[in-house]
């Protein structure tokens, strides 16, 4: 019960959308394909589904799926914008896959509608639903025939933020409850980390890193991955005895080995404190649960920092910034293309 992709490439003319990708998704695992737009993650997903002609191998339990058309793969598919059948009602959409397998089952339809929180919506016409409801129906539709693998292509990105967070939690719950094996394509790390057991980071058609969310979050393999994962500044540092030191100060990283490294700093890596690097607030934006600061430090450099809503310093104020472990990622040593 394992999806194994090896040496998979997809070419559009001379352009390689996906190059030589190896991946595996074991039974019951949710793997997120995370990457910026245009990195080839959707194409990879479509190739797995059998929708893109590709070279290389896509195997299920060591059986090569080349020659197995989409409809025989038993992979469920959820698109960004639902793609519900406009000529069928909600129940008709959910029942579709069961009908294709010749096992219409009204109870299963009701069960799935219940699972996605849409009990009693069966007779509704799909165009009467909101975007979030449509995505829930799409999810129920894909899950109803108990697919071997669920493929989700940016399932939440067409929704507004509040809805997205709610649905991400619901989706995570549904995936866990149903024990689904799933491949989720997303460009949003929050979404990836909410949903996935493991994350595969893609860039320019290649998978650059695969690992558990916390691992990928803490140890991006290279500068581009770090920047994609939110690190605005990358600075050289030395780790000694679980403490990393750089020009912006020291931070305790008990999980880090001794030696030369680079630190990737997310905005949350620097917070106002009683002690630390001195600087002047030049810009300040209020976010939902924190205040985002831009601070000019020695050497005329601008760094990002965050402060609590209650005690955020004003523009022009002098502050001292201290490093916070939560916002720090660890990169192997090397020369960064740019530090700030």
């Amino acid at each position: 019960m394992t999806l194994a992709v090896s040496g998979l490439s997809v070419h559009y003319g001379t352009l390689a959308a996906v190059s030589d990708v190896d991946l595996s998704v074991p039974d019951g695992e949710v793997l997120a394909l995370l990457g910026p737009s245009g990195c080839g993650k959707s194409t990879l997903l479509r190739a797995v589904a059998g929708l893109e002609p590709a070279s290389g191998r896509v195997c299920w339990d060591d059986v090569d799926l080349a020659g197995v058309p989409v409809h025989r793969r038993g992979f469920g598919l959820v698109f960004q914008d639902g793609q519900l059948f406009p000529h069928r009602d909600v129940a008709g959409n959910v029942a579709f896959g069961l009908r294709m397998r010749g096992v219409p089952d009204a109870d299963r339809v009701a069960e799935l509608l219940g699972l996605v929180g849409l009990s009693g919506y069966g007779r509704r016409r799909v165009h009467e639903l909101s975007g979030g409801e449509q995505q829930r129906v799409a999810l129920a539709r894909a899950l109803a025939p108990r697919p071997r693998l669920l493929l989700l292509d940016e399932p939440l990105s067409a929704l507004d933020l509040a809805l997205r967070e709610q649905l991400a939690m619901d989706l995570a719950r549904v995936l866990r409850t149903t024990g689904s094996t799933a491949l989720v394509v997303t460009h949003d790390h929050d979404e990836a980390f909410t949903l996935a057991d493991r994350v595969a980071v893609m860039r320019e058609g290649r998978v650059t890193q695969v690992g558990e969310p916390a691992e990928v979050w803490r140890r991006p393999v290279d500068e581009d991955t770090a920047r994609f994962l939110g690190c605005g500044a990358i600075v050289p540092a030395t780790v000694t005895g679980g403490v990393a030191r750089c020009e912006l100060g020291a931070v305790a990283l008990p999980w880090a080995d001794d030696g030369q490294v680079r630190l990737g700093l997310r905005p949350t890596a620097l917070r106002p404190a009683g002690d630390g690097v001195a600087g002047e607030v030049v810009h300040r934006v209020h976010r939902r649960d924190h205040v985002r600061l831009q601070v000019r430090v020695a050497g005329d450099r601008l760094v990002d920092a965050v402060a609590g809503v209650a005690d955020a310093p004003a523009v022009g104020a002098s502050v001292r910034l201290a490093l916070d472990e939560d916002g720090v990622a660890l990169l192997p040593p090397g020369v960064s293309r740019r530090e700030w």
Binding site: P69, Q83, F85, P86, H87, G97, R125, V126, H127, A142
Partner: protein, 532 residues
């Protein structure tokens, strides 16, 4: 992987062979043969070089373009009425606007001569548009009823006037259907024969009437061949314009359910458009009402005579038998055309969904349309010099009637189906496939239901065109298989009051048969096809 790099499967190629094979045997081969025969006689260049020829071209294209513009202007409000409003009686409007299509050209010609005694060009243009308003209205309505109106709402909110929102948002969304309809109407008008002959005489001649005269009356095959080539070139040019226009607007639309877009008209502008549409419908019905009224000139004498065989046996069939013949012949032709047209549309849309070069698809599309733009006489005379090589010698066989009619109806079916099929998001089909639907099943479960309404419209249209078809039928039908239009023409070509009354009674019968047949097709279909 399963599919080849082009997205072309052997099955699809096989499917493509059916309509293309039909086209090759019953169109390309005969036309090429007769044109070659003309070339053999020499003198083609002389005709091509004559100023007279180019005058013919100018007039043909000019009147067809003018008629098309008029038909589009009149048809779009009617499309709005059918697609975006919910008013009582729309079902009837949907059906009756098809009536002009079946009226025998001689009857329409005579009617327009009465209305515009000195009409000339104006009468020709009006008559041609009269026949074709329904093509525009129904084709455009087919798409319009599924276009999401929120884009236009957005434009309004950005400060666009209703007109501006229509021209800058709605119209581009409708472009695929509009260009499709316009292409068909242009071809119909460019090759319109009966009314041009009646209203234009030898004063206003088109390529079509000239090819007819040269071929049929003068047997001047070289002159006819030259003109046929010119006609073909003009048609290909017109179709290419259509293709280029479509190219700019080939996008998957966001289709919406019908119920969500049809509402009672609100506001002055909306009612103004509805008023215009109803005006067009009334104008379309004027000639129909006039001829129905004429059929009662002698009380019910004409109708009583329909049960018999006409004045002193003008007909070998009774009016009722002729009606039955009409229905039978139209059923054959429509079934064949819907079959061929659906296959061709499936192939065309599959090709453009696959990674086939756009030019290939467009060329095939254009070729499939050609039968609408080439003179029926050229094709008919082509049959004479080719079809005896096929088993069964179909040259003068009545079995050729549905085949010849299907040749004209098939492009119509394609033009009505393609815009909707093309507007179906590929991912909708992929979703179905991922749920276990085989490619064949995807067609049945997604494309057919979504395009169902258009398929119905196409079927109804095919039926109407076949019911009204005159040229091929009058040549090929046996006296005892005469259809209503043939009977009408025959009755009108004879002196005597009763024959005349009977002709108009037969015409009225034709109208009734048409309305009944179309209503039946639509209601049967509607109970099967889920409205969305």
């Amino acid at each position: 992987m399963a599919r080849t790099r082009t997205g072309l499967s052997p099955g699809l190629l096989l499917v493509a062979l059916v309509p293309l094979g039909f086209l090759a045997v019953f169109f390309v081969w005969p036309v090429v043969a007769i044109v070659r025969l003309g070339f053999g006689e020499g003198g083609v260049l002389a005709v091509l070089g004559s100023a007279d020829t180019w005058q013919l071209v100018a007039f043909t294209v000019g009147q067809a373009a003018a008629s098309t513009v008029l038909a589009v202007l009149a048809g779009v409000p009617v499309a709005y009425l059918l697609a975006r409003t919910s008013l009582p009686g729309l079902g009837l409007v949907r059906v009756v606007i098809l009536v002009p299509f079946v009226l025998p050209t001689v009857v329409v010609g005579l009617a327009f001569r009465t209305l515009l005694p000195d009409g000339g060009v104006l009468a020709i243009v009006l008559a041609n548009s009269f026949f074709n308003v329904a093509v525009v209205a129904r084709t455009v309505a087919g798409l319009w009823s599924h276009v999401d109106g929120r884009a236009a709402d957005a434009a309004r909110s950005l400060g666009a006037s209703p007109l501006r929102a229509f021209t800058s948002v709605t119209l581009p969304a409708l472009a695929p259907a509009l260009t499709s309809a316009a292409a068909v109407v242009f071809l119909f008008c460019a090759t319109s024969f009966g009314v041009v002959l009646i209203l234009g005489g030898s004063r206003y001649r088109t390529l079509e009437t000239e090819i007819y005269l040269r071929t049929v009356e003068l047997l001047d095959l070289s002159g006819a061949a030259a003109l046929s080539l010119v006609q073909l070139a003009a048609v290909v040019a017109a179709l290419s314009v259509g293709v280029l226009a479509r190219r700019r607007r080939e996008s998957a639309l966001r289709l919406r359910g019908r119920a969500s877009v049809a509402r009672r008209p609100r506001g002055g502008q909306s009612w103004a458009v509805v008023g215009a549409a109803l005006g067009v419908v009334v104008l379309l019905l004027v000639p129909v009402v006039v001829l129905v009224a004429r059929s009662f000139d002698g009380g019910f004498a004409g109708y009583r005579a329909l049960a018999g065989f006409g004045h002193e046996g003008s007909l070998q069939v009774s009016g009722w038998e002729a009606a039955a013949n009409s229905l039978r012949a139209a059923t054959d032709a429509t079934a064949l055309a819907v079959f061929l047209g659906t296959l061709a549309s499936v192939v065309l849309v599959s090709l453009s969904r696959g990674r086939v070069r756009r030019g290939v698809v467009e060329t095939m599309d254009t070729v499939l349309m050609l039968p609408l733009g080439v003179s029926a006489v050229t094709v008919g005379f082509g049959y004479l010099v080719t079809l005896d090589l096929l088993p069964g010698d179909l040259r003068t066989s009545p079995a050729l009637v549905p085949l010849a009619q299907a040749l004209v109806v098939t492009p119509l079916v394609i033009r009505m189906l393609l815009p909707v099929l093309r507007s179906i998001d590929t991912r909708l089909r992929q979703a179905a496939a991922s749920l276990g639907a085989s490619p064949w099943r995807v067609w049945r479960e997604v494309d057919v239901p979504v395009a169902g309404r258009s398929l119905l419209t196409a079927t109804a249209f095919g039926y109407v065109v076949a019911l009204g078809e005159f040229g091929a039928t009058s040549f090929l039908a046996r006296p005892d298989t005469a259809t209503l239009p043939v009977a009408v023409a025959r009755l009108l070509s004879r002196p005597g009051e009763l024959n005349n009354q009977m002709a108009y009674a037969a015409c009225t019968l034709l109208v009734l048969v048409t309305v009944a047949a179309v209503a039946l097709v639509e209601s049967v279909g509607r109970s099967r096809v889920v409205e969305f």
